[in-house]
C-alpha cells in the first residue's frame, strides 16, 4: 500500500471517530428533559446514556453485518433485512412468545436471542440456496428476489402463529417496534456479548472478504477455503443481527446505506469498509435517533420509521446507479 493510501485511511478513521464523539455528545445532550445539569443527572445516566449506547451498538452491528453479507455474497444490495435475517429472527421470537415467556423464565439462558438467531440463520440459508439455484452465477438480482420471497414466507408463518396465539400479539408487536426509546442498561448487557463476538469474528475476516471480491473460483485458486469462510462469516453476521434485532426491532436499510457511504469515502477494500462501517454505523443510528425524541414530543417517533424514511429513497438511487451489476 502506498503512503498516500495509508494516509487516506488514517484520515478517514480519525474523521469518523471525531464525528462519532460529537454524535454521542449530542445524543446525551438533546432530549425532552433539556440539557445536562445536576438536577437531571438521573435522566442522563438511566435514560439517555443507555439509549445512546444501544443505538450505537445496533447501528454498528447492522452496518458491519451488512458490509459482511455484501462481501460474502458479492452483492452490494443485500443487508440483514433483504436477506430475510430479520424476518427469520422475528419468527423465532414470535414462537418463543407463543410458547410463553413464563414457561421460559426459569431457564438458565434466555432463549429469546438464541431462537431469534436460529430463525435468522435458517432464513439466510434458504435465501442463499434459492438465490444460488436460480442465478447460475449468483447474480445480484436473484439473491435479492430470493430474499423477498423468504421474507414473505417467514412473515406469513409469523402471522399464522400470531393468529393462533392472540394473547401475545401485544408483546410481539412491541418486540417488533423495538425498545431503543426506553432502553435500559440491562438491554445493553443482554446484547453486548453477542455483538462483541460477532464484531471480532467479522473484523478478523476482512482480508478474506477482499479475496471474495474476485469470485469463488479465483479465491479458491488463491488458497481460500471459500465454503468455510462463507459459513463462518454468515453465521457471525447473523448472530449479531439477531441479537440486536431482539432489542431494537426492525430497522431497515442501515446495513446498505452505511457501508455504501463508507465505500464512497474510503474506497471499496473491506479492510477499510468493515472497521469504518462499525464506527459510522454507530454514529448514524445515534444521530438518527435524536429527531425521533423531539419531532412529536412528548410522543416518540420509532427509529425504524426515521431510517426507512431516509433509507428507502437512498436504496432506490443505489439500485438505479447499480443497474449494470446484475
Amino acid at each position: 500500500m502506498s503512503v498516500r493510501e495509508t494516509t487516506r485511511r488514517t484520515w478517514w478513521t480519525a474523521i469518523a471517530l471525531g464525528v462519532f464523539v460529537v454524535a454521542v455528545f449530542l445524543g446525551v445532550m438533546i432530549g425532552p428533559a433539556g440539557r445536562v445539569s445536576s438536577a437531571n443527572w438521573d435522566i442522563i445516566w438511566n435514560v439517555r446514556m443507555p439509549r445512546v449506547a444501544l443505538a450505537g451498538i445496533v447501528g454498528a452491528t447492522l452496518s458491519l453485518a451488512g458490509a459482511s453479507y455484501q462481501g460474502v455474497f458479492r452483492n452490494p444490495l443485500v443487508d440483514p433485512y433483504l436477506l430475510g435475517v430479520a424476518a427469520g429472527a422475528g419468527l423465532g421470537a414470535t414462537i418463543i412468545f407463543a410458547v410463553g415467556r413464563d414457561a421460559t423464565s426459569g431457564w438458565p439462558v434466555d432463549p429469546l436471542p438464541l431462537v431469534s438467531f436460529i430463525g435468522g440463520l435458517v432464513a439466510v440459508m434458504i435465501t442463499y440456496l434459492v438465490g444460488a439455484a436460480f442465478g447460475a452465477s449468483r447474480s445480484s438480482t436473484s439473491l435479492v428476489l430470493a430474499g423477498v420471497a423468504v421474507v414473505s414466507l417467514f412473515t406469513a408463518i409469523q402471522t399464522f402463529v400470531l393468529q393462533r396465539n392472540n394473547d401475545v400479539i401485544r408483546e410481539v408487536y412491541s418486540w417488533i417496534l423495538g425498545r431503543v426509546s426506553n432502553a435500559t442498561w440491562g438491554d445493553v448487557r443482554l446484547v453486548l456479548p453477542y455483538v462483541v463476538v460477532t464484531s471480532a469474528v467479522l473484523l478478523l475476516h476482512r482480508r478474506h472478504l477482499d479475496l471474495f471480491r474476485v469470485g469463488d473460483d479465483e479465491a479458491a485458486s488463491l488458497g481460500s477455503d471459500v465454503a468455510r469462510v462463507r459459513i463462518v462469516v454468515v453465521t457471525a453476521a447473523t448472530m449479531g443481527t439477531a441479537a440486536v434485532v431482539s432489542v431494537s426491532g426492525l430497522i431497515g436499510f442501515v446495513g446498505v446505506i452505511v457501508p455504501h457511504a463508507v465505500r464512497l469515502m474510503a474506497g471499496a477494500s473491506y479492510r477499510r469498509v468493515l472497521p469504518l462501517s462499525l464506527i459510522v454505523g454507530a454514529t448514524f443510528l445515534i444521530l438518527v435517533d435524536i429527531p425521533g425524541r423531539v419531532l412529536q414530543d412528548p410522543a416518540e417517533t420509532p427509529i425504524g420509521v426515521v431510517t426507512a424514511f431516509f433509507g428507502a429513497p437512498f436504496f432506490i438511487l443505489l439500485l438505479r446507479s447499480r443497474k449494470a451489476i446484475a
Binding site: E5, R207, V214, G215, E218, A220, S224, A268, S269
Partner: protein
C-alpha cells in the same frame, strides 16, 4: 522449476465425461498448449489442475501428488488465470495484485512488508507502477490482462495455468501478453499449461500442442505434427490451409469455400 505429471487425469460432471483419462509429463520450464474445439475438455483439465473441480487420476508436481496438499500450499505451486477473470471495478491495481500473496498469509494474518515489496517489484517488472493506485474499472483490456498476469506472478507459483489468456485482446495486445508470459517463463523457469483457440499463436509460443476432441487426446506433438490440414478438418470441421515457414513457424489460415 517444477515438472507436472498428469496420470490418467479425468473429469466428469454428473455422469457426463468432460475429460477422458489424460496422461502426460510436462517438463520443468515447458509450455504445453491445449487446443481443440469448444467443449473439448481444455478448461476442465486446467480447472482440475487448479483444484477447482473434482477429478480422478493423479496430478503430481515435483514427485508429490497435489491431492495431499492443503488448498493454500497448492496455491503456492499452481497459479490459475481463468478465461474471464473477475476484476471488480472499484478495486485498485495494487490491491488486485496483492491478492496473489494470499497463499502466504496465515488465516487471521495480513500481508507482510515483504509481500507488499514483492507486489511493488512485480508491478515494476511489468511496467505497471504508474497504475498502482488506479481502479480496475478505469483500465483498458490490455492493461487488465497484464495485471492478471502480475497477480499470478506475485503468487510465485512455479506452474502457471492460462485459460484463453488472449481471447479478449486485439492482435497487438495478444502478442504483448504472450511475449510477456514467454519472457517470464524463461526468466523464472515457469512451467506453463495453457488453453488457446488461435492455432497459429499456440504453435508459435508453445513447445508442445495437445489436441483434444470430446474429452479425448487425439494428437500431441510440436506445431508441425499437430497442425495439419486434414487433422484440423477432422476435429474442428474447419477448412484450412496450413503453411509452414522455413523457420519452423506454422500458419493456419481459414479457407473460404465460395469464391
Amino acid at each position: 522449476m517444477s515438472s507436472v505429471h498428469l496420470d490418467a487425469l479425468s473429469v466428469s460432471y454428473d455422469h457426463s465425461v468432460a475429460l477422458s483419462p489424460f496422461t502426460s509429463e510436462v517438463r520443468s520450464g515447458e509450455w504445453l498448449c491445449l487446443i481443440g474445439p469448444n467443449g473439448a475438455g481444455k478448461s476442465s483439465m486446467l480447472r482440475a489442475i487448479a483444484g477447482l473441480v473434482p477429478h480422478d487420476g493423479a496430478i503430481v508436481i515435483d514427485g508429490v501428488p497435489l491431492s495431499i496438499r492443503s488448498a493454500r500450499r497448492r496455491a503456492t505451486l499452481v497459479a490459475y488465470v481463468p478465461q474471464s477473470p473477475v476484476m471488480p471495478d472499484d478495486m485498485t491495481a495494487f490491491e488486485y495484485v496483492l491478492l496473489g500473496r494470499s497463499p502466504y498469509v496465515s488465516y487471521f494474518g495480513h500481508e507482510s512488508r515483504h509481500d507488499r515489496a514483492m507486489v511493488a517489484n512485480v508491478l515494476e517488472r511489468l511496467d505497471l507502477v504508474a497504475f498502482s493506485s488506479r481502479q480496475l474499472g478505469t483500465m483498458s483490456g490490455g492493461e487488465r490482462q497484464r495485471l492478471v498476469i502480475a497477480r499470478a506472478l506475485a503468487q510465485e507459483a512455479p506452474v502457471l495455468l492460462l485459460d484463453e489468456p488472449t481471447s479478449a485482446l486485439d492482435i497487438g495486445h495478444q502478442q504483448q501478453a504472450l511475449e510477456l508470459v514467454d519472457r517470464l517463463r524463461r526468466e523464472n523457469g515457469l512451467t506453463v499449461i495453457s488453453a488457446m483457440h488461435d492455432l497459429t499463436l499456440a504453435g508459435l509460443y508453445a513447445d508442445r500442442l495437445a489436441l483434444l476432441h470430446e474429452g479425448h487426446l487425439v494428437a500431441m506433438g510440436d506445431a508441425a505434427t499437430v497442425l495439419r490440414a486434414e487433422t484440423l478438418s477432422e476435429f474442428y470441421g474447419a477448412s484450412v490451409t496450413v503453411h509452414q515457414h522455413d523457420d519452423g513457424t506454422v500458419v493456419v489460415i481459414p479457407r473460404r469455400t465460395l469464391q
